[in-house]
């Protein structure tokens, strides 16, 4: 057999012979053809044996089927012809062919082997060799290319191909490729829905200023922190006890701050402003009247005027007290001070000095209380925060309204020469050469005292002792001269600040000078009862007014001993005041609650306006506002009323090119005085 095999070789790529019959029963059998041509899916199918009977097969009974049919295989071909004759051309006769072909082919198939010596085998080996060579050549080229690549790319693509086993010889007849591939499960998504977490909308905004503020704050904080750490380091150095955390006190103070937010100074300021705003709303109509209302009827009655009551100032604390003094602040025209006390000798109680603003009529801005009734007060003209107060017990005090405390800056005592009787009037002076502030006061004890505010104390100097002149003994007796006149009022002349007039309880008025403290420069006789007020004209420097309990107001020329004009108001006159805007306008108040406003250029005898402004009360004080056309009147019930002057009552000369307003006003008054001086013109003559 090996010898036989050596002469054979495998045939390749030879299709089966055409005529080869294929048994029908074996169509499903695996084909001997190379497996590459077969369907890959059939690899795993086991061959199924199935007996297929053709439809036209003869149906035989079992007997026939079981019958044995003997078949013999002989060497003779039964179908071979036995009497075959063939024409012989040589002999020219038909001759019986004795040798008949007995061979019969039932099945033929091409073999898969070739004889090595055959032409076909030779051709096949040649073909194989050519293919091998081509493959080797291709492989060599591939290897070379790969080597080049590897050299170039420094071993980047190190794909190590496994040995090419495609050419490995397999048993092509009995080989089934079973893939070791497992089933790939398809990818699938799996998702669950959970409950969403709770969300909240947050919003905020940031602006340039916010950033700027935060930046400044941060800077401040850093600075503070640096200081704290510095201090903390120092503290740690000095003290061994490390317990005190430098942050601890800071936190405490911040907490305190938070607590005092409600009671901070800022809050009190805010509350004050809001109170004013709220008052502005509640008293809106009055504010409007104050600013804009003018009595239209004045245009038709040029000789009459009216007073419009505006606010009323009536503090709880001042119940049953008399308004003893009124004073506008020289700088803040909406502000004024009111002194509360009592004119009644028997009913003396504590005193009160209140500073009001027109902006807040419901409550005073500042309140100062004194144990004795306040009789007079005055704002310093240059230092509007200084308020001098004279009391019933003879003391004088100086309050700084800014401090808001009840404690006066200065107060006179018995040791420092206080008055022994009620101080009736107090008056600031220009500062002296040492720039020390000074004021004068007069009291019933007959002394005119100059007070100086030195650094530590209030020093006093009696400028004058008002000696009583008995009119019955004009010669002057030593004994009568010894007693002193009790003065009720005084006023300094604006032009000559050493000059002043004093009104006394006896009815005399004395002109004095601080330069000659022993003598009166002049004495004016005219009043029969106490002179409650003397007032220099604010524009005309030579005239002054006096108001007295004898029902009269008198106009004086300081050079004449007799009054120039006398106005009978038919009731005790409590106070009189010149208007700041005119030299001829003044107002007086009487005990029956009336305000009388005179304008001498309009009417020399009758008041322009005579109006009852309070019921069942005596008016005690009056004050013109330096700027606005309003005046204040105080009564003996502790109530201060603000009154607006109608246009007829506030006529004033306009300054023209030739003369100033003051000159014009002076001319007006001079004219009035001239007429009055031309003898004692009686009203009857005037009427003619």
């Amino acid at each position: 057999m090996p010898g036989f095999l050596k002469t054979l070789m495998k045939r390749k790529d030879k299709p089966p012979r055409e005529g080869a019959p294929i048994p029908k029963q074996h169509t499903d059998m695996p084909s001997p053809l190379p497996s590459s041509k077969k369907q890959p899916g059939d690899d795993f199918d086991l061959p199924v044996k199935e007996v297929v009977k053709p439809d036209n097969q003869l149906q035989l009974p079992d007997k026939l089927l079981d019958e044995e049919v003997a078949k013999m295989l002989t060497a003779n071909n039964p179908s071979a012809p036995k009497n075959m004759v063939r024409f012989s051309t040589k002999e020219r006769v038909f001759k019986v062919e004795p040798m008949v072909e007995q061979l019969m082919v039932h099945y033929a198939t091409d073999g898969w082997l070739l004889h090595k010596g055959s032409e076909e085998a030779k051709r096949q080996t040649d073909c194989d060799r050519a293919a091998d060579e081509a493959a080797a050549k291709f492989q060599a080229e591939m290897d070379r290319g790969r080597r080049d690549r590897r050299d170039d790319g420094a071993g980047l693509g190190t794909d190590t191909d496994g040995p090419d086993d495609s050419r490995q010889l397999r048993n092509q007849f009995n080989f089934s490729e079973r893939a070791a591939q497992t089933l790939n499960y398809p990818m699938c998504d799996r998702a669950t829905t959970t409950e969403p977490p709770p969300t909240a909308t947050m919003s905020g905004e940031c602006s340039q200023w916010g950033i700027y503020d935060a930046y400044l704050l941060d800077q401040e904080r850093q600075k503070l922190q640096e200081e704290v750490t510095k201090k903390g380091a120092a503290a740690k150095k000095s003290t061994t006890a490390g317990d005190n955390d430098p942050c601890e006190p800071a936190r405490d103070t911040s907490k305190d701050d938070r607590g005092s937010t409600l009671h901070s100074a800022h809050m009190s300021r805010a509350a004050k402003v809001l109170e004013r705003m709220e008052n502005q709303n509640s008293y809106n109509d009055i504010s409007m009247d104050f600013k804009y209302w003018d009595d239209a009827s004045d245009a038709f009655r040029p000789d009459e005027g009216t007073l419009l009551p505006l606010w009323k100032f009536y503090p709880e604390q001042a119940k049953r007290k008399h308004v003893t003094s009124l004073c506008w602040n020289p700088e803040y025209f909406d502000m004024f001070a009111v002194g509360y006390g009592s004119f009644d000798f028997l009913k003396q109680s504590g005193g009160l000095a209140c500073c009001y603003s027109l902006k807040n009529p419901s409550y005073p801005e500042y309140i100062f209380t004194t144990d004795s009734g306040v009789m007079c007060l005055d704002f310093h003209p240059q230092h509007p925060n200084l308020l001098a107060v004279g009391c019933y017990d003879g003391t004088v005090r100086v309050f700084d309204v800014r401090t808001k405390t009840n404690k006066p800056m200065y107060a006179s005592t018995a040791v420092t020469g206080k008055h022994t009787d009620p101080v009736w009037q107090i008056f600031w002076q220009e500062a002296d050469l040492q720039k020390q502030l000074q004021f004068y006061s007069v009291a019933s004890d007959g002394r005119v005292t100059l007070w100086t505010l030195s650094k530590s104390e209030l020093t006093h100097q009696d400028m004058m002792e008002l000696k009583l002149l008995d009119p019955s003994e004009p010669d002057g007796d030593e004994s009568t001269l010894a007693s002193l006149a009790s003065c009720c009022s005084f006023d300094f002349n604006k032009a000559q600040d050493h000059l002043f007039v004093v009104g006394t309880e006896e009815g005399q008025i004395h002109k004095c000078s601080t330069a000659f403290n022993s003598e009166y420069l002049q004495t004016y006789e005219g009043h029969a009862m106490a002179v409650y007020a003397v007032k220099w004209n604010q524009l005309h420097m030579k005239t002054f007014l006096s108001a007295s309990a004898d029902w009269t107001v008198k106009l004086w020329d300081s050079s004449l001993a007799k009054p120039i004009m006398t106005f009978d108001l038919s009731n005790s006159v409590g106070d009189v005041a010149w208007a700041p805007y005119s030299a001829t306008v003044f107002a007086a108040i009487t005990d029956d609650g009336k305000v009388h406003v005179f304008d001498l250029t309009q009417n020399k005898h009758e008041p322009m306006c005579e109006q009852k402004v309070v019921q069942k009360a005596k008016l005690t004080r009056i004050a013109f506002n330096p700027k606005h056309p309003v005046l204040l009147v105080g009564d003996d019930r502790g109530c201060v009323t603000c009154l607006k002057l109608s246009p007829n009552l506030r006529r004033s000369s306009k300054p023209d090119g030739k003369q100033t307003m003051q000159e014009a006003e002076n001319a007006k008054l001079d004219h009035v005085l001239d007429i009055a001086r031309k003898g004692t013109i009686s009203p009857a003559e005037e009427a003619k």
Binding site: L262, M267, E275, K404
Partner: protein, 107 residues
């Protein structure tokens, strides 16, 4: 100490005035720390007013007229029936808003 008395007195006085419906003080966190209103009204005012004030302040600062240090001082809101007066303070140490509600037309 003096401030305590002054503020307390001023607040008492303000709330006793005619036409004043109530006074509220709101701290920096928008929490009312003092009020004369009942609770629900107070809370409503505090919430709304603090927002409004913040907005107003923002407007003032944004306008600022060339002065970066400008600051809202007061805010008055006048309606037909009421007037709300707000005095805020934005100082970090003591931030607050003083709110007064007034009926200005009581005669």
């Amino acid at each position: 100490m003096g401030d305590i008395a002054v503020v307390e007195e001023a607040l008492k006085r303000i709330s006793s005035h005619k036409g004043i419906l109530g006074v509220i003080i709101v701290n920096g966190d928008g929490i009312p720390i003092r009020s004369t209103f009942e609770n629900s009204v107070t809370v409503q005012y505090a919430g709304l007013v603090s927002h409004l004030t913040y907005k107003a302040r923002s407007a003032v600062k944004q306008l600022n007229h060339g002065e970066p240090e400008d600051e809202l001082q007061f805010l008055r809101i006048r309606s037909k029936k009421h007037e709300i007066l707000i005095a805020p303070d934005f100082d970090k140490a003591h931030e607050y808003q003083l709110v007064i509600v007034q009926n200005p037309s009581t005669d």
